[in-house]
Protein backbone atom coordinates (compact mmCIF):
# COMPACT_ATOMS: atom_id res chain seq x y z
CA UNK A 1 0.00 0.00 0.00
CA UNK A 2 1.21 3.50 -0.69
CA UNK A 3 1.37 5.89 2.20
CA UNK A 4 2.55 8.86 0.18
CA UNK A 5 -0.16 11.05 1.63
CA UNK A 6 1.60 11.15 4.98
CA UNK A 7 4.33 13.68 5.57
CA UNK A 8 6.55 11.26 7.50
CA UNK A 9 7.35 7.61 7.14
CA UNK A 10 6.00 6.54 10.54
CA UNK A 11 2.94 4.75 9.24
CA UNK A 12 5.00 2.99 6.62
CA UNK A 13 7.54 1.84 9.18
CA UNK A 14 4.80 0.68 11.53
CA UNK A 15 3.14 -1.27 8.74
CA UNK A 16 6.40 -3.03 7.98
CA UNK A 17 7.10 -3.76 11.61
CA UNK A 18 3.62 -5.24 12.09
CA UNK A 19 4.16 -7.47 9.09
CA UNK A 20 7.52 -8.73 10.31
CA UNK A 21 6.35 -9.14 13.87
CA UNK A 22 3.50 -11.38 12.78
CA UNK A 23 5.92 -13.30 10.58
CA UNK A 24 8.18 -13.72 13.59
CA UNK A 25 5.23 -14.95 15.63
CA UNK A 26 4.65 -17.61 12.98
CA UNK A 27 8.27 -18.73 13.17
CA UNK A 28 8.18 -18.88 16.97
CA UNK A 29 4.98 -20.92 16.78
CA UNK A 30 6.77 -23.33 14.46
CA UNK A 31 9.69 -23.64 16.86
CA UNK A 32 7.39 -24.31 19.80
CA UNK A 33 5.28 -26.84 17.90
CA UNK A 34 8.48 -28.69 17.01
CA UNK A 35 9.93 -28.71 20.53
CA UNK A 36 10.00 -32.50 20.66
CA UNK A 37 10.82 -33.16 17.03
CA UNK A 38 14.11 -35.01 16.75
CA UNK A 39 16.84 -33.15 14.84
CA UNK A 40 14.65 -30.06 14.40
CA UNK A 41 16.70 -26.89 14.36
CA UNK A 42 15.08 -23.71 15.49
CA UNK A 43 14.51 -20.88 13.05
CA UNK A 44 15.12 -17.28 13.74
CA UNK A 45 14.13 -13.93 12.35
CA UNK A 46 16.23 -11.01 13.48
CA UNK A 47 13.53 -8.38 13.54
CA UNK A 48 15.89 -5.46 14.09
CA UNK A 49 18.13 -6.45 11.20
CA UNK A 50 15.20 -7.06 8.86
CA UNK A 51 13.64 -3.71 9.61
CA UNK A 52 16.87 -1.71 9.28
CA UNK A 53 17.62 -3.52 6.02
CA UNK A 54 14.20 -2.62 4.71
CA UNK A 55 14.50 0.99 5.78
CA UNK A 56 17.94 1.33 4.23
CA UNK A 57 16.61 -0.18 1.05
CA UNK A 58 18.88 -3.21 1.04
CA UNK A 59 17.64 -5.21 -1.98
CA UNK A 60 15.49 -8.19 -1.16
CA UNK A 61 16.39 -11.69 -2.22
CA UNK A 62 13.80 -13.03 -4.60
CA UNK A 63 13.31 -15.94 -6.92
CA UNK A 64 15.18 -15.42 -10.16
CA UNK A 65 12.86 -15.00 -13.13
CA UNK A 66 14.35 -16.41 -16.30
CA UNK A 67 11.36 -15.43 -18.41
CA UNK A 68 9.34 -12.25 -18.49
CA UNK A 69 6.09 -14.19 -17.97
CA UNK A 70 7.26 -15.91 -14.82
CA UNK A 71 5.35 -15.16 -11.67
CA UNK A 72 7.45 -13.40 -9.04
CA UNK A 73 6.66 -16.06 -6.44
CA UNK A 74 5.69 -15.47 -2.86
CA UNK A 75 5.35 -11.84 -1.92
CA UNK A 76 7.39 -12.47 1.19
CA UNK A 77 11.05 -11.74 0.46
CA UNK A 78 13.35 -14.67 1.01
CA UNK A 79 16.66 -14.88 2.81
CA UNK A 80 15.53 -13.34 6.09
CA UNK A 81 14.62 -16.39 8.14
CA UNK A 82 17.71 -18.22 9.20
CA UNK A 83 18.44 -21.57 10.67
CA UNK A 84 19.84 -21.03 14.16
CA UNK A 85 21.63 -24.37 13.96
CA UNK A 86 20.52 -25.57 17.40
CA UNK A 87 17.58 -27.30 18.96
CA UNK A 88 14.56 -25.55 20.41
CA UNK A 89 14.35 -24.55 24.04
CA UNK A 90 11.00 -24.02 25.72
CA UNK A 91 11.99 -21.17 28.04
CA UNK A 92 13.89 -19.19 25.46
CA UNK A 93 11.09 -19.50 22.92
CA UNK A 94 8.55 -18.36 25.50
CA UNK A 95 10.66 -15.29 26.26
CA UNK A 96 10.91 -14.47 22.55
CA UNK A 97 7.19 -15.01 22.25
CA UNK A 98 6.32 -12.62 25.06
CA UNK A 99 8.77 -10.07 23.71
CA UNK A 100 7.32 -10.31 20.22
CA UNK A 101 3.76 -10.01 21.45
CA UNK A 102 4.56 -6.88 23.45
CA UNK A 103 6.42 -5.35 20.52
CA UNK A 104 3.47 -6.08 18.25
CA UNK A 105 1.04 -4.46 20.69
CA UNK A 106 3.33 -1.44 20.95
CA UNK A 107 3.39 -1.09 17.17
CA UNK A 108 -0.39 -1.34 16.99
CA UNK A 109 -0.75 1.22 19.76
CA UNK A 110 1.55 3.63 17.96
CA UNK A 111 -0.30 3.14 14.72
CA UNK A 112 -3.57 3.93 16.48
CA UNK A 113 -2.06 7.11 17.94
CA UNK A 114 -0.70 8.12 14.58
CA UNK A 115 -4.04 7.63 12.87
CA UNK A 116 -5.69 9.59 15.69
CA UNK A 117 -3.35 12.46 14.94
CA UNK A 118 -4.31 12.36 11.29
CA UNK A 119 -7.97 12.24 12.24
CA UNK A 120 -7.56 15.24 14.50
CA UNK A 121 -5.84 17.11 11.68
CA UNK A 122 -8.68 16.25 9.31
CA UNK A 123 -11.58 16.99 11.61
CA UNK A 124 -10.13 19.73 13.73
CA UNK A 125 -11.09 19.95 17.36
CA UNK A 126 -14.82 19.29 17.17
CA UNK A 127 -15.38 18.75 20.82
Amino acid sequence: MSWDGFPDKVVQILEKSLFWQSRRQEILAGNLANLDTPRYRRKELDFRKVLTDQLRGVPEIRLAATHADHLPGNRVPAGLVRDAGEGGDLDREMVHLAENQLAYQASVQMLIRKLDQVRTALEGDRR
Partner: protein, 139 residues
Protein backbone atom coordinates in the same frame (compact mmCIF):
# COMPACT_ATOMS: atom_id res chain seq x y z
CA UNK B 1 -2.98 -14.89 6.21
CA UNK B 2 -0.14 -14.76 8.66
CA UNK B 3 -2.14 -14.85 11.89
CA UNK B 4 -4.17 -17.88 10.84
CA UNK B 5 -1.05 -19.65 9.70
CA UNK B 6 0.41 -19.12 13.16
CA UNK B 7 -2.72 -20.63 14.69
CA UNK B 8 -2.50 -23.52 12.26
CA UNK B 9 1.04 -24.26 13.39
CA UNK B 10 0.06 -24.13 17.06
CA UNK B 11 -2.89 -26.40 16.33
CA UNK B 12 -0.56 -28.94 14.75
CA UNK B 13 1.55 -28.79 17.90
CA UNK B 14 -1.51 -29.33 20.10
CA UNK B 15 -2.61 -32.25 17.96
CA UNK B 16 0.79 -33.91 18.04
CA UNK B 17 1.12 -33.54 21.81
CA UNK B 18 -2.35 -34.94 22.34
CA UNK B 19 -1.47 -37.99 20.28
CA UNK B 20 1.65 -38.34 22.37
CA UNK B 21 -0.48 -38.22 25.54
CA UNK B 22 -2.71 -40.95 24.08
CA UNK B 23 0.26 -43.22 23.58
CA UNK B 24 1.56 -42.52 27.09
CA UNK B 25 -1.87 -43.31 28.50
CA UNK B 26 -1.89 -46.55 26.54
CA UNK B 27 1.55 -47.49 27.84
CA UNK B 28 0.59 -46.81 31.44
CA UNK B 29 -2.73 -48.62 31.13
CA UNK B 30 -0.93 -51.66 29.73
CA UNK B 31 1.97 -51.65 32.14
CA UNK B 32 1.01 -55.11 33.43
CA UNK B 33 -0.48 -56.65 30.31
CA UNK B 34 1.02 -60.06 29.63
CA UNK B 35 -1.31 -61.07 26.81
CA UNK B 36 -1.70 -59.22 23.50
CA UNK B 37 -3.37 -60.23 20.21
CA UNK B 38 0.09 -60.63 18.67
CA UNK B 39 1.11 -62.84 21.57
CA UNK B 40 3.60 -62.11 24.31
CA UNK B 41 3.57 -59.14 26.67
CA UNK B 42 2.66 -55.60 25.71
CA UNK B 43 5.47 -53.59 24.03
CA UNK B 44 6.02 -50.01 25.00
CA UNK B 45 5.05 -47.59 22.21
CA UNK B 46 6.83 -44.41 21.31
CA UNK B 47 5.66 -41.48 19.20
CA UNK B 48 8.05 -40.09 16.61
CA UNK B 49 7.42 -36.49 15.66
CA UNK B 50 8.52 -34.89 12.42
CA UNK B 51 8.33 -31.34 11.20
CA UNK B 52 6.41 -30.60 8.05
CA UNK B 53 6.33 -27.43 5.93
CA UNK B 54 3.21 -25.32 6.33
CA UNK B 55 2.22 -25.85 2.73
CA UNK B 56 3.94 -28.13 0.34
CA UNK B 57 5.18 -25.81 -2.36
CA UNK B 58 6.17 -22.99 -0.09
CA UNK B 59 8.15 -25.55 1.89
CA UNK B 60 10.78 -25.40 -0.79
CA UNK B 61 11.50 -21.87 0.28
CA UNK B 62 12.10 -20.98 3.85
CA UNK B 63 8.93 -21.47 5.79
CA UNK B 64 8.00 -22.10 9.35
CA UNK B 65 7.10 -25.69 9.95
CA UNK B 66 4.22 -27.55 11.50
CA UNK B 67 4.66 -30.76 13.40
CA UNK B 68 3.04 -34.13 12.83
CA UNK B 69 3.25 -37.62 14.24
CA UNK B 70 5.33 -39.53 11.75
CA UNK B 71 5.16 -42.96 13.30
CA UNK B 72 4.35 -44.83 16.47
CA UNK B 73 7.14 -47.29 17.00
CA UNK B 74 7.19 -50.30 19.28
CA UNK B 75 10.07 -50.75 21.61
CA UNK B 76 10.98 -54.41 22.13
CA UNK B 77 13.88 -53.89 24.50
CA UNK B 78 14.14 -54.38 28.22
CA UNK B 79 11.26 -56.68 29.15
CA UNK B 80 11.17 -57.49 32.84
CA UNK B 81 11.43 -61.19 33.60
CA UNK B 82 10.27 -62.40 36.98
CA UNK B 83 10.11 -65.80 38.61
CA UNK B 84 6.46 -66.59 39.34
CA UNK B 85 5.63 -70.23 38.58
CA UNK B 86 2.02 -69.81 39.70
CA UNK B 87 1.24 -67.24 37.01
CA UNK B 88 -0.80 -68.58 34.06
CA UNK B 89 1.59 -66.93 31.59
CA UNK B 90 4.76 -68.35 33.12
CA UNK B 91 7.00 -70.33 30.75
CA UNK B 92 8.21 -73.87 31.50
CA UNK B 93 10.95 -72.51 33.77
CA UNK B 94 8.41 -70.53 35.75
CA UNK B 95 9.48 -67.13 34.38
CA UNK B 96 6.89 -64.46 33.52
CA UNK B 97 7.78 -61.70 31.01
CA UNK B 98 6.28 -58.37 31.95
CA UNK B 99 5.91 -55.37 29.60
CA UNK B 100 8.89 -53.01 29.24
CA UNK B 101 6.86 -50.07 30.53
CA UNK B 102 8.64 -48.07 33.19
CA UNK B 103 6.09 -45.89 35.03
CA UNK B 104 8.75 -43.30 35.89
CA UNK B 105 9.78 -42.83 32.27
CA UNK B 106 6.14 -42.59 31.28
CA UNK B 107 5.38 -40.00 33.96
CA UNK B 108 8.34 -37.93 32.83
CA UNK B 109 7.21 -38.00 29.21
CA UNK B 110 3.68 -37.25 30.39
CA UNK B 111 4.89 -34.10 32.12
CA UNK B 112 6.97 -33.12 29.10
CA UNK B 113 4.06 -33.65 26.73
CA UNK B 114 1.70 -31.62 28.87
CA UNK B 115 4.28 -28.81 29.17
CA UNK B 116 4.68 -28.75 25.41
CA UNK B 117 0.90 -28.71 25.07
CA UNK B 118 0.73 -25.73 27.44
CA UNK B 119 3.40 -23.93 25.45
CA UNK B 120 1.39 -24.34 22.27
CA UNK B 121 -1.73 -23.06 24.03
CA UNK B 122 0.29 -20.02 25.15
CA UNK B 123 1.34 -19.31 21.56
CA UNK B 124 -2.23 -19.64 20.41
CA UNK B 125 -3.36 -17.18 23.09
CA UNK B 126 -0.62 -14.73 22.20
CA UNK B 127 -1.52 -14.89 18.51
CA UNK B 128 -5.16 -14.33 19.33
CA UNK B 129 -4.31 -11.34 21.51
CA UNK B 130 -2.22 -9.92 18.69
CA UNK B 131 -4.98 -10.39 16.14
CA UNK B 132 -7.51 -8.73 18.46
CA UNK B 133 -5.12 -5.86 19.06
CA UNK B 134 -4.68 -5.40 15.33
CA UNK B 135 -8.45 -5.12 15.00
CA UNK B 136 -8.31 -2.01 17.16
CA UNK B 137 -6.40 -0.11 14.47
CA UNK B 138 -8.49 2.71 13.17
CA UNK B 139 -11.24 2.27 15.70
Amino acid sequence: MNIFQTMDISASGLHAQRQRLNVIAENLANSHTTRTPEGGPYCRKEVILASRPVDEFAGLLEQSSKVAVQAVSQNREGFRVEYDPGHPDADDKGMVTWPNVNPITEMVSLTMASRAFDANVAVLRASKAMALKALEIGR
